[in-house]
Every structure is written in C-alpha cells, then in structure tokens.
C-alpha cells in the first residue's frame, strides 16, 4: 500500500482525515498512484491532473522523500521508501497564497 498525504482542500473533498492508503498493482509509479487515488476517490478526478490529457495542474506539486517529483514522467517508479510504505507520497498545493 502507498501512503498518501493529500492537501486539506482535497481531504475535505474526498471526505477523509489524515493520510490515506491506496493499492498500486506492480511497480508503483507517479501515474499509478494518481490513478489509484482517482479510482478510490472519484471526486478527485480533475483536481490534480487534467481529465483527458492527464497533465498535472499547474499549481499542484508532488513530493516524496524530500524530493520534488512534480516534473517526473508518470511511468517513472517511485522511490523505494514510498513503494515500501516507509515514506508517504505528498500531494501539495503550490505555495501561492501570499
């Protein structure tokens, strides 16, 4: 299971508290985690990436293991620590609030 920390607005939208966990079959990738999140919480479709192009929304960032994964290709494997559940995958609203 992949541990995911969603930003507050998306936790509210998905009606969850704290961390969530999603099952990603095979080698976990950035795109795989996002797909699993959208499958588990359909209300998140369109909020992190475009419905059709699957392009990341401009003000959404993805972090894990103190690395910025926002610009990684969707099929790049996630760090081992995320895949093992030792570290969470973070979905972050970009710092743009003043």
């Amino acid at each position: 299971m992949i541990r995911v920390v969603l930003p507050q607005h998306l936790r509210t939208l998905a009606r969850v508290d704290g961390e969530v966990s999603v099952d990603v079959p095979g080698q976990p990738t950035l795109g795989g985690v996002l797909s699993a999140l959208e499958e588990t919480y359909p209300v998140l479709r369109g909020t992190m990436r475009d419905h059709v192009t699957l392009k990341r929304r401009p003000f959404v960032r993805f972090y894990a293991c103190e690395q910025d994964l926002s610009h990684e290709a969707p099929d790049v494997p996630l760090p081992d620590a995320v895949a093992s559940g030792a570290e969470p995958f973070l979905v972050v609203g970009a710092m743009a609030g003043g």
Binding site: H9, T12, L13, V43, G46, T47, F59
Partner: protein, 372 residues
C-alpha cells in the same frame, strides 16, 4: 409560509441565508466548501430544494456540487467540461491568438421546468448543458464555434460567459453575454447563436467602436412578463433593447457614472430597474465613497439614488456582476453583495436597506429564491 432563501457565493465559500416573508431576521448557514471560490449557486425554479453550486480554486480546478435538500447536504457531481472537438483560438489581451482553455464555471442557469437540466456558462467562453442533474456535461458548441469567435478577447476577469437568460414564454430562446465578446441570442435552445450588439459603442476599447462583436457586456436582465425587453450594464453605458436584442439604445440618463456590473429588474414592475454605478473601469468603487443603488421606474434615463441604510461615506467596495437578485414577494425584495463582504437586503423595492451580513469574504454572487 412564504420566505426567501439567499444563495451567496464568496471568494472563500458559500452561504445560505433564510428569512420568513417579513425579511427582517436572517439565519445564516455556512461557509460551505470553506476556502474554495464559489462563483455561483442557483436553485431550480422547478424544485426549490434542488441547488447547484460552482466551486473552484486556482490550485485544484473546478468542482460542481448539488444539493437536494436546500443546501443542508451536498454531493459532488461531474466536473469534466471538455470542449467539443478541437477548441481553436480566441484573441489574447494583446490581440494575438490564444488557445481556448477551460478555467471555471461562472454561471449556472437551471431549466425553468426540468430540475435535472442546467446550463453552465464557463471561461474560456462556452456553454455546457447537463440533463442528468450535473453528473455529465456536454458542450453546446454552436456558440464557441460561431464565425466571430476567433475575434473574441477576454475582459479583465477572463473570457467568461457570465449571463444566461431563458425566455419563459419560449424556452428555446436564450440570451447570453460574454466579456468581452458581447451578447448573443439563440432561437433553438442553444444550438446556434447570433450576435445581438447593434447599437453598442465601445469607443475606448475597440478599434471599431460599432463592431459586431468584442463589446464588454457586464450583465443582462429581463422581466419574465416582457422577455423581448432586455436591459444591459455594459462596461460603460446602461443599455436597453425593445426588440430582443436586435438593437440597443442607451438609457444611462442622469446616472452619476454609467460604469458598473450589476443590473436587475423589479419582480412585478417590468419598467423598474436597478443598477449600482461604479466610478470607472480602473476605480472599481462607488463615486464619492457613497454606496448608492439607482432605480429607474421609467425603464431607464430617469434614475433616483437609493441610499437609506447604505453607507454614505468612506465606502470603496464593488458589486460584481452576479451579485444582485430580486425576490417575487409583495413588496419586491432586492439583494446585493459587495467585495467588502456585505450582503444588503431591501424588503421594500429599494426604499430602505439593511445588512444581512457585514463581514463575509468578498461576495461573488447572490441569488434570491422565493419560497412557497
């Protein structure tokens, strides 16, 4: 027992306000969807408990909410607004081509008769429709693919379709307005459209002041008993049409300034209209620091200032285009919200005003529902 429900969209959430027919005391519920921008909420004329709400942020995009119980509970519905085919290009602020990109839903207009049918006006400008209570949305592409669309350009708020009016006598006749393209009319339920901007003049904004499209129309209003008579608050100029938009003439008359955003019509008097003059396009606040609603009982030209209960000094708020509404009680109630977070109500057609709320986030929209 009769009453009024106000649906108030703000920069940081939605509020639902309720009063009985006296409209003296209000219960305020909210914020719903705290932290999200609520451009618009509106109830179905066919089911007063069915509400639709446009929720968005720059971070996480567009979300649509529906309530079946007058706003007590909400459920998320479909948020996929995909343009039909290749979206094409419009003009950018500097006149260069720019691709059509969906940003948000500005306005929701429920069908007059079908609770599950709603029209959505979006940025970049296009009209969408749902017939399954918001689960799925499809574009009515005849508007965005109009032959003039490549000449449309955004106003300061974006290339937004912000007004949708449905003719109660003929629901296939619809009027919409886009900043900054102008007004358009459909006779076939939104399949095809024609510009209706003859008589509008934009001397400062357009190279051809009388152009067929490109005018920054801020708002349209109509009385349900006279759907061929339209009123318009343009960027500058308050306008009127007596032929369903085929031609327009100016009715700014003695207004202190004819810039503004809102315009609305009295529920029982088709010739009584309301505007809130704003100083200028670069100074979005009332002239002289005095918040004044202006009322014309003659369908324009002759205007009177309504000030009783409104701040008459040091007031520098704006009233945005979707932030005025009327109820249909007797006497007609009229409501508006400000960018300073105030919601004002008048239970006597504008003669006197009280603040329903004073410290909300900036108000984006106000809709009044008259409750049976």
């Amino acid at each position: 027992m009769s009453g009024v429900r106000l649906l108030v969209g703000t920069r940081k959430g939605a509020f639902v306000m309720r009063s009985d027919g006296k409209r003296e005391r209000w219960e305020i519920a909210g914020p719903h969807f705290g932290g999200w921008e609520i451009y618009h909420l509106k109830g179905s004329p066919a089911d007063q408990n069915r509400l639709y709400c446009s929720q968005s942020t720059g971070w996480f995009g567009q979300v649509l909410q529906r309530s079946n119980d007058a706003g007590k509970t909400w459920e998320t519905v479909g948020n996929q607004f995909a343009y039909d085919g290749v979206p094409g290009q419009h003009l950018w602020y500097d006149g260069t081509p720019h691709p059509w990109e969906f940003k948000r839903v500005w306005h929701l207009e429920p069908s007059l008769t079908e609770p599950d049918t709603v029209y959505a006006g979006v940025e970049d400008a296009a009209m969408f429709k749902t017939t399954d209570a918001g689960q799925t949305w499809h574009e009515l592409p005849g508007l965005r693919t109009h032959e003039s669309a490549s000449k449309w350009a955004p106003g300061a708020g974006g290339l937004c379709l912000h007004t949708i009016l449905i003719d109660p006598a003929n629901p296939k006749r619809m009027f919409i307005a886009i900043s900054a393209a102008g007004a358009f009319r459909s006779e076939d339920g939104g399949t095809s459209w024609r510009p209706i901007n003859r008589g509008l003049k934009s001397q400062q904004e357009l190279p051809d002041p009388n152009a067929e499209v490109g005018h920054c129309v801020h708002r349209l209003a109509m009385h349900r008993s006279k759907p061929g008579v339209l009123f318009m608050q343009k960027h500058w100029d308050v306008m009127r049409s007596d032929d369903a938009g085929d031609s327009w003439h100016e009715i700014s008359g003695n207004l202190p300034t004819d810039f503004g955003f809102v315009i609305d019509v009295h529920a029982h008097e088709p010739n009584t209209i309301y505007v809130v003059p704003i100083k200028s396009d670069s100074e979005h606040y009332p002239p002289d620091g005095k918040l004044r609603v202006y009322r014309s009982r003659t369908g324009g030209q002759d205007w009177e200032a309504l000030t009783n209960g409104l701040p008459q000094r040091d007031c520098y708020v704006n009233v945005l285009r979707d932030a005025m509404s009327v109820d249909s009680l007797d006497k007609c109630g009229i409501y508006f919200g400000t960018t300073g977070g105030q919601v004002y109500a008048s239970a006597d057609a504008g003669d006197s005003w009280t603040a329903v709320a004073r410290d909300l986030p900036p108000v984006l929209s106000v809709e009044a529902q008259t409750l049976a």
